[in-house]
Symmetry: C2
Subunit: 176 residues, 2 copies
């Protein structure tokens, strides 16, 4: 799929998934897309774990109670390390966000849907740490996001957005 | 260009650019790609300004002193507003990072190169604010990144990265 088409077709899918499995090859291709994202001073702060084992998936569903994960045949868990790029600056959030966006686009390109689930994972109840423990993730990594991956069973809807003229301009800010 | 190819070919280009202009249509297509990125609770915290006016570009070059901007025939400036998505949480960094990654991929898809220039813009000397003032950007927006856009005049090199097995796993963390 053309890159501009993938970018415009990507949406945050919150429906059910078909029970068709996602092949290991496709999960790997999506993760490779994530790892291909840039990172501040090439610190490569982002790591990934794909989960398609049914028992682990059931446990993750139980921990998150997220309807977006209920029927997904696979998920990709996003881990970060807050490594310093230079002086006192870390760009770990930018790094994992770029990696996530690459994975969302790769998923669309391969015929899947997904959704960026972050707030729920990193909120006060620390669900991310519980899932990390389930997957034997060492303490120096934080789990910050889960992406369901699967073929949509429901219709795919796009978020409504402000018009271009309210968010983008040429050669200077224009009054919104 | 296929989305997976664009993802794997994208690199942080630090060479010179040809003096071929970037058409307004292409700059708009790249910005539309940026605005198509998801944002936390659809807050749409990211805004963009493309600059191809020679006088403004010269002024931006003078302010940044960045070799990466020296020959670029156009730049895209990335603005953010730290809007709350829910409770006390804002995802503005994730939002603009996803938008930037989309724009880098769109640029590659359209035959251009670019580079994510952020640290230099948001460091202690506040160059971002100076460029924002030049472009009449109100105080409630922060300028966080500049993307040069143009056709590469030099060879395009890719950053060396850790192997997949050190950053991604299936069904559980594996000792690196």
């Amino acid at each position: 799929m053309d890159v501009l088409k993938a970018i415009s077709e990507r949406s945050s899918y919150r429906g059910s998934y078909k029970d068709t499995p996602v092949s290991k090859e496709d999960l790997r291709a999506i993760m490779e897309a994530g790892l291909a994202a840039p990172s501040g001073c090439n610190t490569q702060t982002t790591s990934l774990i794909a989960v398609n084992d049914p028992d682990l998936l059931a446990h993750i569903r139980q921990l998150t109670q997220s309807p977006m994960l209920e029927t997904a045949p696979a998920v990709i868990c996003v881990l970060t390390q807050r490594l310093i790029a230079y002086r006192d600056r870390s760009f770990y959030v930018q790094d994992y966000a770029a990696a996530i966006e690459n994975m969302l686009l790769a998923a669309v390109g391969l015929g899947y849907q997904s959704c960026w689930i972050e707030g729920q994972i990193t909120d006060r109840d620390a669900i991310g740490r519980k899932i990390a423990d389930l997957l034997d993730v060492p303490d120096e990594y934080e789990m910050v996001c889960i992406l369901p991956v699967g073929i949509a069973a429901d219709s795919v809807k796009k978020a409504k957005k402000k018009p271009f003229s309210q968010r983008a301009w040429f050669n200077g800010f224009k009054t919104v």
